[in-house]
């Protein structure tokens, strides 16, 4: 203690203290958040007369490195895609999750690498290997005439526990998370329910019927498009952000007001007058 005390007035001491604090905080934060490894993305290209052939070529360039030459999977690296179906491919590649850029706890949504027709080609190829759920049609995913009341009930009972009541997303274990539903298209929502990507459970069409799924889609899309009549939404995650705003907005504003109200003029504060200044 005396060592610090004796040197605390040296000019560089302040800089050293700040530097130490920054390093300590940075190391602490780095220790608790996940750090990912990396593998580079492979660009896809190719053309062929039939969609499946095109898909096979795209697959070979962009997917086979992890999923295996015949989509059989590689243990510890990537699962088998035999039986995964076109819907799964359309979802994963359409949301940009695949091709995977780096192995984190979870594949995040990012800008898709392929065009939609390329995605359909890959999907057709994967479907040809072992079947699986097909890409739903536009009519299947349309929310026209859907029952949002039932959708609300189903969403709250089966989806809200991960994705939050407004679709803001939520934490899972081991650094995984249920993503926010703000960007998913109708078809992607349907496909996610149908195929159960990563940690998400599978809600097949005989458990949650296509009609049920349409109701859920209608509820989700209507909720996220809805205006916030009370003001800014504060993230739609509930009392946590509300409390932050109450303290940082409300109390801060009123403390500043209180400081202004009770501020003394300079003479009253310091006892200086024109005479002794």
């Amino acid at each position: 203690m005396r060592w610090i005390t004796a040197r605390r007035r040296r000019p560089l001491f302040g800089y050293a203290a700040v530097l130490l604090a920054l390093v300590a905080v940075g190391m602490l934060y780095a220790a608790v958040t996940g750090l990912g490894g990396g593998s580079s993305a492979l660009a896809g290209s190719g053309s062929s007369s039939s969609q499946i052939t095109e898909g096979r070529n795209l697959f070979a360039v962009s997917c086979a490195a992890c999923h295996g030459e015949y989509a059989q999977g590689r243990s510890g690296v990537a699962p088998s895609l035999i039986g995964a179906g076109a819907a799964a491919v359309d979802f994963q590649v359409g949301t940009g999750r695949m091709p995977l850029k780096e192995t984190n706890a979870e594949a995040p949504r990012k800008p898709p690498v392929f065009t939609q027709s390329q995605i359909y080609a890959i999907a057709a190829y994967v479907a040809s290997l072992g079947g699986g759920p097909a890409v739903p049609s536009d009519q299947q995913v349309s929310s026209a005439g859907a029952d949002t009341a039932l959708g609300q009930s189903l969403f709250n009972a089966n989806c809200a526990q991960c994705h939050n009541y407004s679709g803001a997303g939520g934490a899972l274990t081991d650094g995984k998370y249920a993503p926010p539903l703000t960007q998913a298209t109708n078809r992607q929502i349907y496909e996610a329910m149908l195929t159960g990507p990563e940690a998400m459970p599978v809600f097949n069409d005989s458990t949650l019927t296509p009609s049920d799924k349409r109701d859920i889609i209608a509820y989700v899309t209507q909720t996220r498009a809805e205006a916030n009549p009370g003001g800014f939404s504060l993230g739609r995650v509930g009392p946590t952000t509300e409390g932050l705003v109450a303290w940082l907005g409300g109390i801060t504003a009123l403390v500043l007001a209180a400081m202004w109200i009770t501020a003394k003029r300079r003479e009253e504060r310091t006892g200086e007058t024109a005479g002794n200044r």
């Binding site: 599978v202 097949n204 205006a227 003029r265 007058t273 024109a274 005479g275």
Partner: protein
């Protein structure tokens, strides 16, 4: 001498007047400081006596200046404050106008947008009206009223020994006159009566609710009762629920709208891959790799609904209790003390999933009688 007397002494060197004992009226005080150019602050009478009676015998008059030191600046600030008060007036009028003209409710297009407009208009008007008055008043008191600092003496907190003695005497006198100290029969029976008269009526709170009995030990599930998918209220067969990694919320047939029973009976069914289910999961209670667990968390009763297909974890989002669905929902992390009870299921003649019986243990949070 009580403690209090010592508190009355200031440091000897501070006192400029003779030390006053409480009870003697002090000389008049009233300290006015008016910091202006050239004037010294502080008057001659510092009033350093500690506690005087607080009010002079002759009331002080003329303690505050009537006008601010700089009339020109005060006039300018007056204009600012006046403008703010007028703004507030207009805002209040605007509030009424917004209320009258902006309709909400379902005959006005998008109700959410209509409500947004109304809230925005009413709220902005109200905020402006309130804040403008507030700011104007602060300008008034800080820049238009002359600065003033007054000193008020404090009373002694403790009463004088004479007052205390008189108080004690009154109490004793009254106690003696009331005879209560001299008549133990009267006193004791009175005490014996007052406690029950206060407590006996509490018994009428008994009918606030039924006794728990054994109601927390059982749910409505019984043999042959179908599992319905919550929401669509349809029964389900293993052939329907055939995707590994599938999970859905199920409720007992006949109780789908009964929140009270659902608060105990709600369950989830999960479809596993073959071979994934292990002890202590009771495989006799499963059908076709489909296992049913209570959805009510054993911590404090939130629905433990979050299912991670890849890790087979059932996570309760309230306090992060985690259960391993492949191993009888044993607790892996978190404050839950016991696994989620497993619901024995089988299929009925039509192939729909039904319960074999009720849960074999009480569901939900722990309670004293659970054992």
């Amino acid at each position: 001498m009580s403690d209090n007397d010592r508190d009355l002494e200031g440091t000897p060197e501070e006192r400029s007047a003779p030390h006053r004992v409480i009870g003697t009226p002090p000389p008049a005080r009233g300290l006015l400081t008016e910091p202006g150019p050239g004037e010294s602050s502080g008057g001659g009478q510092r009033g350093t006596e500690p506690y005087g009676p607080g009010e002079a015998e002759a009331p002080e008059l003329h303690e505050m200046p009537s006008d601010p030191p700089d009339p020109k600046a005060a006039r300018n600030w007056e204009r600012v404050a006046a403008a703010l008060f007028l703004i507030s007036l207009l805002a209040s009028v605007g509030f009424v106008a917004a209320y009258v003209s902006l309709e909400i409710g379902n005959n006005n297009g998008d109700v959410v947008v209509a409500t947004l407009r109304s809230n925005l208009a009413l709220g902005s008007a109200m905020s402006l009206a309130m804040l403008a008055i507030g700011v104007g008043m602060v300008i008034w008191v800080r820049y238009i009223m002359p600065p003033v600092e007054l000193t008020e003496e404090r009373h002694p907190m403790a009463s004088s020994p004479e007052d205390r003695a008189a108080f004690a005497e009154t109490i004793i006198e009254g106690a003696e006159t009331s005879q209560i100290t001299k008549r133990p029969l009267l006193r004791r029976t009175l005490i014996a009566a007052t406690v029950p008269v206060a407590l006996a009526p509490l018994v009428i709170l008994r009918d606030m609710g039924p006794l728990p009995g054994t109601s927390l030990r059982n749910t409505v599930w019984k043999k042959g009762m179908r599992l319905l998918v919550y929401g669509s209220n349809q029964p389900i067969t293993p052939a329907d629920f055939n995707s590994p990694g599938g999970m859905i919320t199920v409720v007992p047939d006949g109780y789908q709208d009964n929140d009270q029973e659902l608060a105990k009976a709600t369950a989830i069914i999960i479809r596993m891959e073959p071979g994934q289910l292990q002890a202590p999961t009771n495989l006799n209670w499963t059908v076709d790799n489909i296992v049913a667990y209570s959805k009510i968390c054993t911590h404090v009763g939130c629905p433990a609904a979050l299912y991670e297909q890849t890790t087979h974890r059932i996570l309760c989002p309230c306090h992060q209790s985690t259960f391993d669905a492949t191993r009888g929902a044993t607790v892996m992390f978190g404050p839950a003390p016991r696994p989620l009870p497993q619901l024995p299921i089988t299929t009925d003649a039509q192939g729909y999933l039904v319960a074999q019986s009720d849960f074999h243990e009480p569901v939900g949070p722990s309670f004293w009688e659970r054992g």
